[in-house]
Point group: C2
């Protein structure tokens, strides 16, 4: 294994494949559309395409990325509810026909470019129980959704609905209420035009951070029960948009200790590492996502620490209040491994704050060894 | 002027020069060290070097950037209080001798590489009155500072102290207390070893956002008064580290409206633009920095809006509570100009979240016209 400069995320592609299979088993008959924004690494896309995933994209560059791996455009959903007219036109020129909207203006934009589009109307859903609840940025209420679906259906579009229960959702009943609303909207729409055909169950499936979460099989059982309750014998075509769940646990961020200091201002032990909130750990803002830490010295006595990043920015503190402990013997040059950092790290990284390079990603996994027999277990790349 | 794709920040280099001169007039006999992290654009460094600025750098890439413009290493201060051993060695190999520290471990690291270093000890200072107060990430108390300065002095280093009053500081008396503490520490250190030689006044000088701030001349008068009060006839060599003040007002971010929608969930008018908190507007998190907005339709009737970015991330909302208004006629394709966005925008931008490219920067200004007579008024580059 050749030396890689810290900080970097090591992605195990075999874990991504295993997670995909686990989710596919938990949600049978559901098309899984990987949310590329969670980790747009090329080998990640390649592996998920190989195991049969569909893809949810947010932008033209994500479309180009996914199609560059030979993915059929029919398996790509343009899930961003606000798209430039020229980006919709570009997507259409590449053969993409599936678009998400939540407003009349956006419906008009899409149908102007793609008259036979598959229109997904996003329902607003107030999240409870998620570590990162969603704002009101996306989605409309049942009233607007009904109007949009009727309008789209009458203009010849295939239609369906999506919703999102919030990231890192721990409440297994979170899908009940939005599915009930979706079923009601479908009934109402069917009175005016063709019945909507599909439901996108969104994401929210968890990564393995400090707090234990239910196994994915329980999510599957709860969602399948909610679908049956909402739609009875008339179950629509199903999709989901997993992002975090597929990639988070596949990543381990390696960061080097730059300095350990204790100062008279607070008598705390500050451990400064070479990756911080601007370098990929943005989800630790407010200490909401609490990753698991490990070092080679964890058999030594452990002490309370504050963990902070390498920039000259006072906001660049990773964990100050969450009660983290690290070995008393840890010092400059040692490596801290941060587990389950495969989602929303390299893609969130700043382009060059304080001059530091963006967080890099390296890959390991059986497929890679097979296709690059002489490259060793680790392959560099974005 | 050739067409540039939004989003981009247009930097007027002449404004940077004017700001430098205004600050130099307000703080005579003070070496101004531009904090490169605020905006590391090449032409920004070039212009500031040309007008005589020194530079405060946070990392090896920032050292390389500044030296690539022919800056004398003696005018470069490595102001990050946590540096890898090999980065200190690299800085030393490039002729840099000025280092900031706030702990004994860091002092040892620096003196191991640069025995005759100029050591700046950063004092912790509890900020009040700043729009972005600082955390306890940096600086030590007067006790630690005294010990570090005595140790450094006895080991042959030239010494001094720095502090920071907090970003966008509106209280002109903020420099009084830390300067008083610094003067006391200097007295105490002088009892044990060579008296420290310099004071770095830090930054905190404001950009022109929505709230009016005092003119820079009043900052100068207040600080000069505080220096005289603290040091009487024994004024040390003075430095300052302006970042935001020099570059913020020189920048205008141009962003395109992607979608305007009103949805039944909140009956508010949402304006989605192609630059958001992940694309360079990170300082709007919590709506703490409130930029001035302008469009070509500002003569039309204005309506309350929520301003949000282009990503599929529910946190990517720029202004929701601050009471912003934009023209009722504003629609997709129109440009919103965001003023005073020359600081902490391009450098904070994510490398590619949701697939969107990092925020670009273009330049205008007289010097540029002179050196590139055929390039027109705008030059592309990072």
């Amino acid at each position: 294994m050749r030396a890689v400069q810290t900080p970097y995320v090591l992605i195990d592609l075999d874990i991504i494949e295993a997670k995909y299979n686990d989710l596919a088993n938990a949600l049978p008959s559901t098309e899984l559309c990987y949310a590329v924004k969670a980790n747009p690494g090329g080998p990640v896309i390649e592996r998920l395409a190989a195991v049969g995933s569909s893809f949810d994209v947010a932008s033209v560059p994500e479309i180009e990325l996914v199609l560059s791996y030979g993915v059929d455009p029919g398996r790509v959903s343009f899930g961003n509810t606000m798209k430039k007219q020229r980006d919709i036109a570009y997507a259409a020129s590449r053969g993409i026909t599936r678009f998400t909207i939540d407003s009349e203006n956006e419906l008009d934009k899409v149908l102007a470019e793609v008259p036979n589009a598959e229109i997904c109307v996003r329902l607003f859903h107030e999240c409870v129980g998620a570590d990162w609840p969603l704002s009101k940025k996306f989605g409309c209420g049942a009233g607007d959704a009904t109007r949009l679906l009727v309008a789209a259906g009458r203009r010849g579009a295939t239609t369906g609905m999506s919703f999102h229960v919030g990231s890192q959702q721990r409440n297994l009943e979170s899908w009940d209420e939005p599915l009930r609303v979706v079923a009601e909207v479908f009934e109402e729409v069917a009175r005016h035009t063709r019945r909507p055909e599909f439901v996108n169950l969104g994401g929210g499936f968890p990564g393995s951070y400090l707090d234990a979460m239910p196994p994915i099989s329980e999510y599957g059982r709860a969602i399948n029960r909610a679908i049956t309750a909402a739609f009875e014998g008339n179950v629509p075509r199903l999709m989901a948009e997993p992002g975090r769940y597929l990639v988070a646990d596949a990543g381990t961020l390696h960061t080097e200790v730059v300095l350990v200091s204790e100062r008279d201002i607070d008598s705390r032990r500050w451990v400064y590492v070479d990756c911080g909130v601007f370098g990929g750990l943005a989800e630790t803002l407010g200490e909401s996502i609490r990753y698991r830490l490990a070092t080679d010295k964890d058999h030594d006595s452990m002490v309370d620490i504050v963990l902070a990043g390498p920039t000259c920015d006072s906001a660049d503190i990773i964990y100050e209040k969450a009660g983290y402990r690290l070995p008393a013997t840890l010092g400059a040059g040692d490596i801290v491994r941060i587990a389950s950092t495969g989602a929303y790290t390299t893609s969130y990284s700043a382009v060059g704050f304080n001059g530091f390079a963006p967080l890099q990603q390296v890959y390991c996994g059986s497929q890679l060894l097979k296709s690059n027999p002489r490259s060793g277990a680790v392959s560099m790349g974005r």
